[in-house]
C-alpha cells in the first residue's frame, strides 16, 4: 500500500539538486581526525612512561637524573622502511600515511622516525609544525613534537633517542640535545664548544651511536658521551658524521685514502686508496650495523635522472674481507635496521643477506609520487 509513496520518494530524491562532493574537505578532516586519534593514544602512553620515571626517581631519592634512560636494545630483524610521497611501507607489513612529503627516515628502537615537509628533499621547505613523526611497527603514528629546521640529527637503531645540536650563547657554544622519540622530551643536554663554519646547516651535524654522539665542528668530530656528559676531541677530521655500529668512513682526500675507523678504539678497520689527483670513483657506505661496506659506483646523471646502469656494486664483509658483487638501482637501495641490504623496484622490497645475497621479497604498492626513500640512507643535503 505504500509502494507508490516509496517509488515517488526515490524518484524525487533522484531529482534533488545535489552539491558536488566535498572530497578535499572530507580528506583533510579525515586526516586530521586520524592524527588527533594517534596523538591522543601517544599522549596516553607518554603519561604512563613519565609516571614510571617519577616512581623510579622517588625510589632512588638523591638520584639527580630526572628520567630513566633506556639501555640499547637489539633491533628487529625485519625492521625496514620504504617510502614514497606520504606513505611509509614498513617491514612489519604495515603502511603508514604521514602528514607531508617524506624527506628521510631514521631507525630507532621505538620505531621509524619519519622526517616530513612540504617537499621530499631535506633542503626543501620545512613545515611550521612537527617535522618528525614516529611510525610504529603496528602501523600507528605518533607525534613527538620535534621540529628542527635545517639540522642534521642522528639516531641509533638500538636506542629510542634522537640526537642533534642547538645553538648556545654565542658562535662557539652549542648544546647537544638527546630527545626521547616516544615523548619528544629532552632527556639530556650537554654543552660543547667549537666553531662551525665548514657546513651550511643551522648547527653542526650529529650522529648517535650507542653511548656516543659525534658532532662535526670545525677541524674535527667531537665525541660526546651523552649519558655522562663527557666531551672529547677525536683525530677524525671535520665532516658530516654517519657513524654506524660505532664505525665511521673517513676520507683523506690529500693523501688518497678512505678508512673505516672504529670510533671508540681508533682502530682502522679497512683502508682503501685512490689517486688524489683523480679522486675516488667508488663511494663507500657502511651498513646500518657497521659490519659491511658497499662500494657504490659513480652515478651517471642526465636531466636530473641518475642511474648505476651497467656498473656493478661491491659489498664487502669488513670482518673477513670477502665481497659480493651485485647490481643496485640509483636511490632504490638501503639497509635494514640489522644491516641487511635492501633493494627496491616498483613492486617489491628485497631484504638481502649481504654475505650470500640471498633475499626475502616483500610486495609493496609504490604510487610513483616522487622519489623513493629507503631507510638506512642519510638523505641529508
Amino acid at each position: 500500500m505504500t509502494e507508490r509513496l516509496s517509488s515517488l520518494l526515490r524518484d524525487e530524491a533522484d531529482d534533488l539538486s545535489i552539491p558536488s562532493a566535498p572530497t578535499g574537505a572530507v580528506l583533510a578532516e579525515g586526516r586530521k581526525r586520524v592524527r588527533q586519534r594517534r596523538v591522543g593514544l601517544a599522549s596516553m602512553a607518554a603519561v604512563a612512561i613519565i609516571g614510571a620515571g617519577a616512581l623510579v626517581q622517588a625510589t632512588h631519592g638523591q638520584d639527580r637524573a630526572a628520567v630513566v634512560l633506556d639501555p640499547a636494545a637489539a633491533p628487529n630483524a625485519n625492521e625496514w622502511a620504504v617510502a614514497q610521497g606520504s606513505t611509509v611501507h614498513l617491514g612489519s607489513g604495515a603502511t603508514v600515511d604521514v602528514p607531508g612529503q617524506i624527506k628521510s627516515m631514521y631507525y630507532t628502537s621505538a620505531g621509524t622516525l619519519v622526517r616530513v615537509g612540504a617537499s621530499p628533499y631535506t633542503d626543501g621547505p620545512h613545515t611550521n609544525g612537527s617535522s618528525y613523526w614516529l611510525a610504529h611497527p603496528d602501523g600507528t603514528l605518533s607525534d613527538p613534537r620535534i621540529s628542527l629546521g635545517d639540522r642534521v640529527p642522528g639516531t641509533d637503531p638500538t636506542l629510542p633517542y634522537l640526537a642533534y645540536v642547538d645553538k648556545g650563547s654565542d658562535a662557539r657554544h652549542w648544546t647537544v640535545k638527546i630527545r626521547d622519540v616516544r615523548t619528544g622530551d629532552v632527556v639530556r643536554e650537554i654543552p660543547i664548544e667549537g666553531t662551525f663554519t665548514w657546513g651550511g646547516w643551522a648547527a653542526p651535524p650529529a650522529a648517535l651511536s650507542g653511548d656516543h654522539v659525534y658532532v662535526g665542528v670545525d677541524g674535527t668530530l667531537l665525541d660526546v658521551l651523552w649519558r655522562t656528559g663527557q666531551v672529547a676531541k677525536t683525530s677524525v677530521p671535520e665532516h658530516m658524521p654517519e657513524t654506524r655500529g660505532g664505525r665511521e668512513v673517513v676520507s683523506y682526500d690529500k693523501s688518497g685514502k678512505i678508512q673505516v675507523v672504529d670510533m671508540v678504539s681508533g682502530q682502522v678497520i679497512k683502508t682503501l686508496t685512490f689517486d688524489p689527483n683523480v679522486g675516488f670513483y667508488w663511494y663507500p657506505q657502511l651498513s646500518t650495523d657497521g659490519t659491511h661496506l658497499v662500494m657504490l659506483p659513480s652515478a651517471d646523471c642526465t636531466g636530473g635522472t641518475c642511474t648505476y646502469e651497467g656498473q656493478p656494486t661491491r659489498v664487502i664483509d669488513l670482518a673477513t674481507g670477502k665481497s659480493q658483487t651485485t647490481s643496485l638501482e640509483y636511490g632504490a637501495f638501503g639497509w635494514s635496521a640489522t644491516g641487511r641490504l635492501l633493494m627496491v623496484d616498483g613492486h617489491t622490497v628485497k631484504s638481502c643477506d649481504p654475505d650470500t645475497m640471498k633475499c626475502d621479497a616483500t610486495p609493496v604498492e609504490l604510487d610513483g609520487s616522487g622519489p623513493i626513500r629507503v631507510s638506512g640512507n642519510d638523505n641529508e643535503s
Binding site: 505504500t2 562532493a21 566535498p22
Partner: protein
C-alpha cells in the same frame, strides 16, 4: 583494504557515495546545509575507519550506517524534536477534490511533517528499515514508531491524495 586509502581511491569512493548519502540526509533533515554537514561527517568517519573496512563495497554500507547513526545523535537532541524554523507559514491541507497538479510533491509534503514523523517516513519507506530498526535509530519504542507512522501517513494522504496513498495505507 587494511590500510589508509590512497587519495585517489578515497576520492573515487566519496564521489560514488556522496549523492546517495546526501539524498538520505536531505530527506531526513529537510535542509541542504544540514544534509551536507551530515553526509560529510559520515564520510569523514568512514575515512578514519577505513583500515577496518575490508572492501569498497562494505565501505558504502559503513558510510550509510554511519550517516544514520550520526542522524540518531541529532534526533536525540531536544532542539531537533521541534519544527525546523522557517519564514514561510505551512500551507493548509488541500481541500478534497483539489486538482492533483496543484498538490505538493512528496518532498514538499515531507517538509510539512513534524521532524520525527518525517524521519519515520524516510527511514521506513526510503531506507526500507523495519519498525524495530527505526525505533532503535529514533531512540523510541516500536509502538511510538507505529503511531508516528500512522499519523504521518494520514497527513501525507491528505496532502498527496488517494493516488499516492490509498485508504489502506494509513496503518502498518
Amino acid at each position: 583494504m587494511t590500510r589508509r586509502p590512497h587519495d585517489e581511491q578515497f576520492t573515487a569512493f566519496v564521489t560514488d557515495a556522496w549523492r546517495p548519502l546526501y539524498r538520505t540526509a536531505y530527506l531526513l533533515l529537510g535542509e541542504h546545509g544540514a544534509a551536507e554537514d551530515l553526509a560529510q561527517a559520515a564520510l569523514t568517519k568512514t575515512y578514519v575507519a577505513w583500515p577496518r573496512i575490508r572492501e569498497t563495497a562494505a565501505a558504502h554500507g559503513y558510510a550509510r550506517t554511519t550517516l544514520l547513526n550520526e542522524a540518531r545523535g541529532l534526533f536525540r537532541r531536544s532542539s531537533w524534536r521541534r519544527e525546523i524554523a522557517s519564514d514561510a507559514l505551512p500551507e493548509p491541507d488541500p481541500e478534497p477534490g483539489t486538482d492533483p497538479s496543484d498538490r505538493p510533491t512528496v518532498l514538499g509534503a515531507l517538509r510539512l511533517l513534524p521532524p520525527r514523523q518525517r524521519a519515520v517516513i524516510v527511514l521506513r519507506f526510503y531506507e526500507d528499515l523495519s519498525v524495530e530498526q527505526t525505533a532503535a535509530l529514533l531512540d523510541c519504542t516500536a509502538g511510538t514508531v507505529k503511531s508516528q507512522t500512522s499519523a504521518a501517513l494520514a497527513k501525507l494522504r491528505r496532502l498527496l491524495g488517494d493516488a499516492v496513498l490509498p485508504e489502506g495505507a494509513l496503518h502498518d
